[in-house]
Structures are given as structure tokens and as C-alpha cells.
């Protein structure tokens, strides 16, 4: 009884606070929100009637699409000035590129929103020329998940900060193919945001980079050979069969089903792996930071899903109110109260990580925030680089280049080509695309 009264009181406070935090619109407006079908977005959709209650003049309509379809749909709509959408869900890869194109409305938030509470690397990823163009809904870095029971049984201990060399040793020891246990699971499915996210962060750790400061591709180099060689070798030796068809979801299923001893991937998986309803290894999952290579302190991994308002929206003010609501501290409270602390959108606000309830509900919270803080998306690789981005390169051409190189790397993983051949081909594919895109052959970026 006591608990339920407390819950009701918390609910009332949260709802009132959200109502006060955002001013109520007077004129009727219907805003169309384009989003993806991730768990946190589904919760937002479910709770959005609270927003409509506290903002009686604003009605919400939802368009939920698969990530790549959504990106294509949004770019077509904005480029043709059609104005079908008022709120967009975009990644931190898209935000600065779209802001540069003049597609997004700048977001000047009131003091009550507390922009300073947003984690700095995440906020920086959404800032173009000092102006914020998107608000983070949830963010993730990457970490190493491992099975403490298998480690114990083999007499192994995961160091506080593992290296790639150590991890390979563990994977070799733990692989037991006869019993369906694979030492290492990694993304193998080709795509700029799939296998190339893993490969890019490895390349940075091994001292490599995509481009030098003159935009010349740096793929056919010793650092890439070392990184991709390591990736192909560990997956061929210790990875699950058919690794080239495994993306985030497939590896999540493999790990949750007890088939992976280690898995390096997005921090957002932690919630599912700790949930006994969706994971058969909830009791034995443990975590460590991403392994390090020969170059430490370089960019590692940072992805955020953000809400932004296109310039073409006819309901700028109403859209801004919704975006502020969905990314506010009060929204975090609302989710905590309705769905439990473990379900709150992670990786965006310092206040979430300061909450003792969250720390208790999510034992991985400290690791996640530390991983995000050290993700260093704007930082430098071993040799200076011309672009930003942790596990991607923040230029429009990267989608195409990343996917093409991803396919070539996957063919090396499948054993159809050698790592050396794959990197030579990747180098020439990247050179050609960059030349065609107007980055001149001499290396100077196009005017």
C-alpha cells in the first residue's frame, strides 16, 4: 500500500513537472513524428498520451519505419521541401551533415531544459558550428560482455581493462565448438553501421584511420592489415558459424542463448542481457570496457538516436515542445515510474546516472557512462584525421563507402578473398568514390 501511494505521488509529481516544464500550445497542431522501432521509442510512443494530455492543442501522429527506409524517406522529403514530418529520429551520424545542409532547425533550449545535463560527447555530436541541432533520446557506446561462469570454469580472469591480445587468448581458451560455445562474437553482417562499426573502432585502436588530413584513403596500410587480420582471424577461429550474417540482433540472440563467451558490441544490449525474460545467461553475464590496442585514447564508439526538427516543418513550435518533453529529465522520471528504472532511455543525461535508483536497477550504468565519456568521437586517431565520428566518418559519402568496404571485409571473413586483397580492393573503391565525390586527387577537399 505504502509503495503504491508513493508511486501515485511520484506519478503526479512527474506529470505536473512535465506540464510545467513545457508551455502549453494554444492553437491546434498535429505533428507527425518519424521514428524507428527500437524499444525506447516504443515506450515513448506508449507514453505520448501524457504529452497530449498536458498539451491539449497538440496531436501526435507516428510513422515508424526501418532505419534505412526511414533515412531514405526523410532525405527525399526534406530535399524536396515537402514538409511531411515535424519531428525526425536521426543518428549522430546524420545530425551534423543535415545541419550543414541547412535541413534542420537550430534548437535553442530554455534554461529549464538544462542542456548542460546532456552528456558532453553526445551533445557535441549534435552540435554544428556551436549550435545544437538535435536532442538525444538515447545514446550508447560499446563494451565487452562476457560469461563469468565460463571464465571461472576455465580459471580465467577478465582484467579491468582488457587488450585485444588478451581477449584473443581468452577466446581461444573458451571456444568449445562441440558444445556450441564460441569464444568471440562480433558483427559480421556487411554495412557501414554493422560490421564496419566494429572494424572502424578496431582500426582506431590498432593505430589506423580511414583518411589522412588530405582526404586520402588509408586502408591499404599496416594498421588496417593488423586490425582486419585480427578481426577475420578471431572470428574464423573462435566465432560462430556464418558470422557474416550476424549483426547486433543476431549476436544478441546468440549471447542471450548462451552461445558466446565474449561479445564486443553496443552498451544498449546490457538491458536485454540482464533481463531474465529475454536472456538465459542473465545470472552470469559480466562486462568490461572495450579492449584496447596499440593506440589508446583514440575514438572508440558513440551512437545516439536523436530527435530533430526539419526546417520544412510547418509546426515548429509544437514540434519543439514535443522534442523538449521526450528528452527532458522529467520524461526519464516518467519512464522510471511507469516502466521501472531499468527501462529509462540510457546514455543521455548526467542526472540519470546520478540517480541512486538507476544505479541500483542497472548495475552496468557506471560502465555505460564511462564508455560514453571516453568514446572521443571528435578526438584524433594516431595520425591526425580530417573528420569526426567514433565508429564512422561523419561525411555523407561514408554510408556508401562503409557499406562497400563492409561487403569486401565480409568476403574476407567468409574466406573468399585474403585480407590483403580485400584491403587493396577497399582502398581502390574508397579512392574512386572520394574522387567522384569531388575530393580532388591531390587530396585537398573540394571547395
Amino acid at each position: 500500500m505504502k509503495i503504491s501511494l508513493r508511486r501515485i505521488a511520484m506519478g503526479a509529481v512527474a506529470t505536473t513537472a512535465i506540464g510545467c516544464a513545457t508551455t502549453t500550445a494554444h492553437a491546434d497542431a498535429t505533428i507527425t513524428i518519424a521514428t524507428v522501432n527500437n524499444g525506447d521509442m516504443v515506450i515513448m510512443q506508449g507514453l505520448s498520451d501524457r504529452f497530449e494530455q498536458s498539451h491539449p492543442g497538440i496531436h501526435l501522429r507516428w510513422v515508424v519505419l526501418e532505419e534505412n527506409t526511414l533515412r531514405q524517406r526523410l532525405t527525399t522529403d526534406i530535399a524536396t521541401d515537402a514538409g511531411q514530418f515535424d519531428v525526425l529520429t536521426i543518428g549522430n551520424y546524420d545530425a551534423p551533415i543535415w545541419a550543414k545542409q541547412g535541413w534542420l532547425s537550430p534548437l535553442d533550449m530554455p534554461a529549464s531544459y538544462d542542456v548542460g545535463d546532456l552528456l558532453k560527447p553526445v551533445r557535441d555530436g549534435l552540435t554544428y558550428k556551436g549550435q545544437l541541432y538535435g536532442l538525444p533520446f538515447y545514446a550508447e557506446s560499446a563494451m565487452t560482455y562476457y560469461r563469468s561462469d565460463l571464465f571461472r570454469k576455465a580459471g580465467l580472469t577478465m582484467p579491468a581493462q582488457p587488450t585485444y591480445a588478451e581477449v584473443r587468448g581468452f577466446a581461444d581458451r573458451l571456444t568449445d565448438k562441440a558444445h556450441g560455445i564460441y569464444g568471440m562474437c562480433l558483427r559480421g553482417k556487411p554495412g557501414w553501421g554493422l560490421n564496419m562499426a566494429t572494424v572502424t573502432s578496431m582500426v582506431h585502436a590498432f593505430g589506423g584511420q580511414w583518411f589522412d588530413t588530405a582526404w586520402r584513403a588509408q586502408i591499404d596500410t599496416p594498421s588496417w592489415r593488423q586490425a582486419v587480420g585480427y578481426y577475420v582471424d578471431i572470428l574464423q577461429k573462435d566465432g560462430p558459424p556464418g558470422a557474416t550474417s550476424n549483426g547486433f540482433n543476431e549476436n544478441l540472440a546468440l549471447f542471450a542463448g548462451g552461445h558466446c563467451a565474449m561479445w564486443i558490441d553496443a552498451t544498449v544490449a546490457a538491458g536485454s542481457l540482464y533481463d531474465k525474460k529475454s536472456s538465459s545467461v542473465a545470472d552470469s553475464v559480466a562486462f568490461a570496457p572495450m579492449p584496447t590496442g596499440s593506440f589508446t585514447g583514440g575514438p572508440t564508439w558513440l551512437w545516439s538516436w536523436n530527435l530533430a526538427i526539419p526546417r520544412t516543418s510547418h509546426n515548429q513550435e509544437a514540434a519543439k515542445q514535443f522534442v523538449a518533453w521526450a528528452t527532458s529529465k522529467q520524461y526519464v522520471q516518467l519512464v522510471a515510474q511507469q516502466k521501472g528504472w531499468v527501462a529509462v532511455p540510457p546514455g543521455t543525461r548526467a542526472s540519470t546516472y546520478a540517480s541512486p535508483e538507476y544505479k541500483q536497477a542497472a548495475p552496468f550504468a557506471g560502465f555505460v557512462v564511462a564508455a560514453i565519456d571516453s568514446s572521443n568521437p571528435n578526438g584524433q586517431t594516431k595520425a591526425p584525421r580530417p573528420a569526426t565520428g567514433a565508429q564512422f566518418v561523419a561525411i555523407p559519402e561514408f554510408q556508401g563507402i562503409g557499406t562497400q568496404v563492409g561487403q569486401i571485409v565480409a568476403s574476407a571473413l567468409a574466406g573468399q578473398t585474403s585480407v590483403e586483397q580485400a584491403l587493396r580492393r577497399s582502398q581502390s573503391v574508397t579512392d574512386r568514390t572520394m574522387r567522384q565525390a569531388g575530393y580532388s586527387a591531390s587530396g585537398a577537399p573540394s571547395p
Binding site: N37, R61, L65, E66, T80, N249, L252, G257, H259
Partner: protein, 273 residues
């Protein structure tokens, strides 16, 4: 005698194997829709499991299925009717009053199907934006009708050509005009062909995903958009996606089941004289 029986059994077995092979993806989708998310992606895949309706419940809670289904029905039926209304006269003219350019025209019509749709996305998007057709049923209906036109004209042309000219001539002798000829003679006699053309067009409209995802958002979004909304870049979704797909294909599957006799009759129409 025994040998011919054995032959029949073997043919029957082979037929069942092919049918099962073709039907297996649909069967697997339906089975997956009754699994939990974890069971849906377990390795090795589970053939026996405790069925649950949780995926259907989640799909229902998240989306308004009826809204999408109604859009699919209106757009597919509308698109098919418009396509037939345009292609019957076109095929009639080409089959019974051919000119030197008929063959070329037919090939040119078919060639429009060879262009990848994305090639004309931006022009069509701009046209739709200017004429206020974005996210409207009538807009998508128009695209579907035009998209299927080459196929319906070709199919009807083939069916009409099978029809003996003498019958139409006899009709004309008895005083039938062009309209009477088409309405009272041509259409009744080629009805299996017309029906199967209509059915094929309906199925193509129902399954079309490129345009429906690109020119609709909320109001006119059909079942393809409904399915697409359950694919997730992060998180398990196969059971929900399978449930959504099962719900999306169910109406057309039931429709296909009832009209299969007509469809087979139409597709083999005129094949054996």
C-alpha cells in the same frame, strides 16, 4: 498397371515436395509468429515449442491494423479496377485492330517496367507534393494502376488474341457495335483471363512496398508500411515482425485460396485447344 500406379504415386510425392518447398517460408513465418522473441531466434531453430499469442498482442497494442488493412484494400482494389478499365480497351484495340506499330508499342510499354522505381522517385515525389497527393489513397492508387498497366495490357492482349475473330465478326453481322462486341462477346468469353489478370494485379498491388513506403506516411499507409514498422535495428523483433506479416498476408491468402480455381483456369486459358 502396377508400374503406372507407382509412377502416379511418385508424381504425387514430387508435387507435394515442391508445394511444401514453396510454402515453407510462409509456414515458417506463421510458426514464428506464435513464438516468443527468444524462441524465434534460437539456434538451432525450434520446430516444436509452446505457442503464445504475445507477439500478436504486442503488434495490436502498437499499431492500428484495421486502418492499414482498409488502406490496402481500397488502394489495391482501386488500382486494379483502374488498370483494367484502361487496359481492356487498349488490349482490344491492339489484339483486333493491330497496326504496324502495335508490337513496338507493346514492347515499349513493357520496357517501362525495366526502369528501377527509385530512378523516378524524386520527380514523382515532387509531382505529388505540388499536386497535394502525398500520403493520399488516390495518389498511391494512381501509381499502382499505372505501374501494373503494362502487365495487364500484355496479359489481356494475349488472352484476347486467342479469341477467334469469327465470333466477333458474327456479332458485328448481328449489329453489335464496338461496345456491344466487347461487353457481350469478348469479356464473357475471356472472363477467366480477365479475372486472372485482375487477381494478379491485385496481388502485385497488395505486395508493393517501394512506393507505399515512400509516398505515404500516416493517412494512406497500407499493410506494407505496417510490416515495415516492426523491423528494428536494435532489439529482438522476429516474432512481432512475423505476426505483423501473417496479419498482412492473411487477407490476400484467403482471397487467393478462394479464387485459385479461377486463377489456374485463367493462366492456362487457351493453352490447350
Amino acid at each position: 498397371m502396377q508400374q503406372s500406379r507407382l509412377k502416379r504415386v511418385l508424381i504425387l510425392l514430387a508435387g507435394w515436395c515442391v508445394a511444401l518447398l514453396l510454402f515453407f517460408p510462409i509456414l515458417w513465418m506463421v510458426l514464428t509468429s506464435f513464438k516468443t522473441e527468444i524462441a524465434a531466434i534460437s539456434t538451432p531453430p525450434l520446430l516444436f515449442f509452446r505457442p503464445t499469442l504475445s507477439a500478436y498482442a504486442a503488434v495490436q497494442a502498437q499499431s492500428n491494423y484495421l486502418h492499414f488493412a482498409l488502406n490496402s484494400i481500397v488502394i489495391s482494389v482501386g488500382g486494379t479496377v483502374v488498370a483494367l478499365l484502361l487496359s481492356i480497351p487498349a488490349a482490344y484495340a491492339m489484339a483486333f485492330h493491330p497496326t504496324r506499330r502495335t508490337r513496338g508499342t507493346l514492347l515499349w510499354m513493357l520496357s517501362t517496367k525495366m526502369l528501377p522505381p527509385v530512378g523516378v522517385l524524386v520527380p514523382i515525389y515532387l509531382l505529388f507534393k505540388t499536386s497535394g497527393l502525398l500520403d493520399t489513397r488516390i495518389g498511391l492508387l494512381g501509381i499502382y494502376a499505372l505501374m501494373n498497366l503494362p502487365i495487364t495490357v500484355w496479359m489481356l492482349f494475349t488472352f484476347f488474341r486467342e479469341m477467334p475473330h469469327d465470333i466477333l465478326e458474327a456479332g458485328r453481322m448481328d449489329g453489335a457495335g464496338t461496345w456491344g462486341e466487347v461487353w457481350h462477346l469478348l469479356l464473357p468469353l475471356t472472363m477467366p483471363g480477365v479475372a486472372s489478370t485482375g487477381l494478379l494485379s491485385l496481388i502485385l498491388c497488395w505486395n508493393e512496398a517501394f512506393w507505399s513506403l515512400n509516398v505515404t506516411s500516416v493517412n494512406a499507409a497500407p499493410l506494407t508500411a505496417f510490416i515495415a514498422s516492426f523491423s528494428s535495428p536494435e532489439g529482438l523483433f522476429f516474432a512481432k515482425l512475423s505476426a505483423a506479416s501473417t496479419m498482412a498476408v492473411a487477407p490476400i491468402l484467403v482471397f487467393g485460396w478462394f479464387s485459385q480455381r479461377q486463377l489456374v483456369r485463367g493462366l492456362t486459358f487457351g493453352a490447350v485447344k
